[in-house]
């Protein structure tokens, strides 16, 4: 189901304890390991860029003209105040690389027949030791996900609210991501446009592109 490359424009509505904020970003993704994101709005975040190359992540701040490598404990910080952490961003989206899976049961979710998969981490140094994933049987798209710590404590939830068909693939169009340890109503994601198998020039996925 993974395309080699994809370009998307998305919105993220972060529901905080006090107010909600909307961020817009454009992302270029090459395979499962490299990506480049540029924030388009709001004004305060406009021009902020993020580059992920394999296991490394950099962020560029236009106001200081500084490129900062995000590592160590900073990876656990929230991305732009959302319920998503940098560690989540760094995760290999191809789950079979990280988890062993077995179908534990079946369920109908929002009128769609789903398999419920129990995923257990193959290695120790991983953000979520286990996951429970609801996968649409006919569209092969994830509709719901619960992410757990090693102790079995629920850490985050993902709820896909709408899917769309693009270039003969099903992809999430809107979803709610919730860090259950945080107060607030979670972070909503909306994919405004997405294009698969597009050509992404090499110079875009480089550190030099951050300051351009």
């Amino acid at each position: 189901m993974f395309s080699e490359n994809k370009i998307s424009v998305s919105r993220m509505i972060i529901h905080g304890r006090r107010e909600s904020r909307t961020l817009e970003a454009k992302s270029w993704q090459r395979g499962t390991s490299d990506s480049f994101t540029e924030y388009l709005a709001p004004a305060r975040e406009k021009g902020t860029k993020m580059l992920k190359l394999g296991g490394q992540l950099w962020t560029y701040s236009p106001s200081t003209d500084r490129t900062i490598m995000i590592s160590g404990h900073m990876l656990r910080q929230s991305v732009m105040g959302s319920d998503l952490s940098y560690e989540d961003m760094m995760e290999d989206p191809h789950l079979p690389n990280l988890y062993s899976a077995n179908v534990s049961s079946e369920e109908t979710l929002n009128g769609r027949d789903c398999w419920i998969l129990d995923l257990t981490a193959k290695k120790e140094d991983i953000a979520y030791h286990s996951r429970k994933v609801w996968v649409d049987k006919s569209r092969y798209v994830i509709l719901k996900e619960n992410l757990y710590a090693k102790t079995g404590k629920l850490l985050k939830t993902l709820e896909v609210r709408e899917v769309m068909r693009v270039q003969n693939r099903w992809a999430a169009k809107s979803a709610l991501y919730k860090d259950v340890l945080k107060q607030g109503e979670g972070t909503e994601f909306f994919v405004d446009s997405i294009a698969f198998d597009t050509n992404i020039p090499d110079h875009l996925l480089s550190k030099a592109a951050l300051r351009r």
Partner: protein, 424 residues
């Protein structure tokens, strides 16, 4: 009578010297310990007030519940209005807003790449306002080790130890990486104006001091502050007034149904200091109590030894017709004289040592290296009017009790046996 007893004590050193030394030692230790513990408590209260809680502190209800985590997303907003009202309602208190924040200080190389980086704890305060009391409260001017105080926006002070660790000098640029109150990444360049050392291990490890307006802008907290601290004009904590101000403020401003309504707390009720101060008070009383008891036992023993040594003298005095009560009373009077002289001497020596430690203090810096407590590395004694009298209580009481108990033996002497005992 008193003159007679005094002459006896002065001429017979074996009667007075040892008890006098013991009383003096006890009184000295009591005075010194009291002054030192007093200094310790005062420094703890002052450091906590200056760096953490103020004498009173205003936060939002939600911030107060998680204050240890510095949740700036729950900070007070529109603080100028609140500050104006606080200054109008409680003019006897100095009100000053602060923002605490965490983050990384990143030092770039010539290409703008990271040369060195360290986690920092930041404190934003009104550094550039001429009417701000902060410089005096935190003694910032005297804490500058290298460079100078910030004179314009965009300048910060960093801990001297941190500057050495990052190999950065005054005048260089450092990039502060933190989180805005909305959780976005905040990346801002600052010029390091100077380095500071406060003499508090927790502050000297990795502190950044910045101007409030700079951090409000950096953390997207326009007109916001994590907390507003209140300090009494004389810099002393007045519990009754603090409680009164707190009750009045909370009655007027706090709304239990609004987690962002402001709430005020006193120094004593915050940071678990109440239990700590009660504990120190209790220990202080216990230590002084133990001294009184221990000295009484020692002096009782001294009294017994003295009575045994003066067994013959007392026997002769009783044999020639001196009343037992008179002998007992004269010994009690002697003990009071020794107690007074010993207490006086001990208090003088104790005060001298305490004064030395009030000026110089003892530096516990090496022991507090990993400490997170806002406590000065140098603990000094503090002499108060009470220090002048506290040594007299154990000094007089111990000699008096010691002699009173050991002197009971006088009443057990049988007149019929006296000559037999004296012949032996």
């Amino acid at each position: 009578m008193i003159q007679f007893l005094l002459k006896g004590l002065l001429r017979d050193h074996s009667r007075s010297l040892f008890p006098l030394l013991i009383v003096a030692t006890g009184a000295m230790l009591t005075v010194f310990l009291h002054a030192y513990m007093n200094g310790f408590i005062t420094i703890t209260i002052q450091s906590t007030a200056h760096y953490t809680t103020g004498h009173v502190r205003v936060m939002t209800d939600a911030y107060a519940k998680e204050a240890g985590q510095v949740p700036n997303d729950l900070a007070l907003l529109r603080i100028d209005t609140l500050l104006g009202e606080l200054r109008q309602r409680f003019p006897d208190i100095l009100w000053t807003p602060r923002i605490k924040f965490g983050g990384l200080l990143d030092i770039p190389d010539e290409q703008g790449e990271t040369r060195a980086q360290a986690p920092v704890f930041g404190m934003a305060l009104r550094l550039l306002s001429s009417d701000s009391p902060e410089s005096r409260i935190l003694n910032i001017q005297n804490s500058v080790v290298k460079g100078r105080l910030p004179q314009k926006r965009g300048e910060i002070l960093i801990a001297d130890d941190l500057a050495e660790k990052l190999a950065v000098r005054a005048g260089e640029t450092g990039t502060l990486i933190s989180s805005t109150m909305n959780g976005s990444m905040a990346v801002v360049n600052f010029t390091i104006a100077g380095t500071v050392r406060f003499g508090i291990a927790a502050m000297d490890r990795g502190t950044v001091i910045a101007d409030l307006a700079d951090i409000q802008q950096t953390l997207d907290m326009e007109q916001g502050a994590g907390e507003i601290l209140g300090f009494f004009q004389d810099d002393l904590y007045h519990e009754d007034r603090a409680n009164m101000v707190t009750s009045e403020f909370n009655f007027r401003y706090n709304n239990p149904r609004d987690e962002f309504s402001p709430i005020m707390g006193t120094l004593r009720t915050q940071s678990g200091l109440a239990d700590y101060l009660d504990l120190v008070d209790a220990y202080s009383s216990i230590i002084i109590g133990i001294f009184v008891i221990a000295m009484s036992i020692v002096l009782w023993n001294t009294g017994l030894t003295g009575s045994l040594r003066r067994y013959g003298e007392i026997g002769v005095r009783l044999a020639i017709g001196e009343d037992k009560g008179h002998v007992y009373r004269s010994m009690m009077a002697e003990s009071l004289m020794i107690g007074f002289a010993g207490s006086f001497l001990g208090t003088a020596i104790g005060l001298a040592i305490a004064y030395y430690l009030q000026v110089h203090g003892i530096d516990f810096g090496s022991m507090l290296r990993g400490s997170t407590m806002m406590m000065s590395n140098v603990i000094r004694a503090q002499i108060t009017p009470f220090s002048f009298v506290i040594g007299f209580v154990p000094g007089m009481l111990a000699t008096f009790l010691g002699t009173a108990i050991s002197g009971i033996g006088i009443y057990r002497r049988q007149t019929s046996q006296l000559f037999k005992e004296l012949e032996a």
